[in-house]
Amino acid sequence: MIRIAAVGDIHVGEESADVFGPRPEALVEEADVLLLAGDLTRRGQRSEAEVLAVELRRTRGVPTIAVLGNHDYETDASAEVIAVLADAGVTVLEGTTQTVDTPGGRLGIAGTKGFGGGFQGASGAEFGEPEMKAFIAHTRTLANGLTAALTSLDRVAARVALLHYSPIESTLQGERLEIYPFLGSYLLAEAVDRGGAQLALHGHAHRGTEKGLTPGGTLVRNVAQPVLRRPYGLYCLGGDETSCGS
């Protein structure tokens, strides 16, 4: 099995410590890869990314792949955040892919922050004012990028979609219904399903629910840290069951 550790919405600030729990070095024993589902920093500042980089050094070099979240754009310094994380060995995806060779096989990860718009029957459309059209068009562009990235992953044992915004409603249960359109879009679920992912991970919805399925039957996990109530989620995907615990 491929052992995937995942968490989002860690909102690292300059004061943060033990973001991945008191024993982050355990990650190298437990997981083949660490996936970070956005809102890595409190306000997208370089100083916050530097604190995260220090925390990641404690994970002993577990391959780490991330997407940004809305908080990571707050101070218009997302490029600096990405640069700091790159120096720390973290690959940040946006419509792009990363493969990781593990004892359980090659894992292919495609990532996008995603955006909002709502879910089938209660979603916005590219209609009306330019601002509304731009809003939904942005989500559609990111979703199309995710589909293309997933389908480009060749000769992999499993495909995982890594997002910040949610592709489905069921992992939002617990949030107020009125804000669902700001939490994700069905276009992201369509991308996950058309792209052939076996698993989709997202954050963003702190009051949501961990487990769900896309309309096409792809497993979804909301790995926002406030939802998990533990340092990270640990998921074993595919392969030989007996290797999950090793």
Partner: protein
Amino acid sequence: MTERDDAFDDPYVPGHLLEALASDERVGEQDLRVDVVGHRVLISGTVASEERRAAVEVVAREFLPGWDVRNLVDVVQRSGPVEREELA
């Protein structure tokens, strides 16, 4: 009466305070809720650190001087056991 005394009768205090908390560089959190009962404002939700929880109250008191501010905000729990889930 000061401008903030008038605010006791302003039905949009919750929305404005939530905006202030999200945009203030000392807080920068959105997972908060504000309820107003008379001249008392109750702030609940979850933030990532104790320092940020304290900052919520500082910012709220600055934004609403003279109000009775009750800080009911929790810090994210991340101490639960890491359990493996085997996915089909």
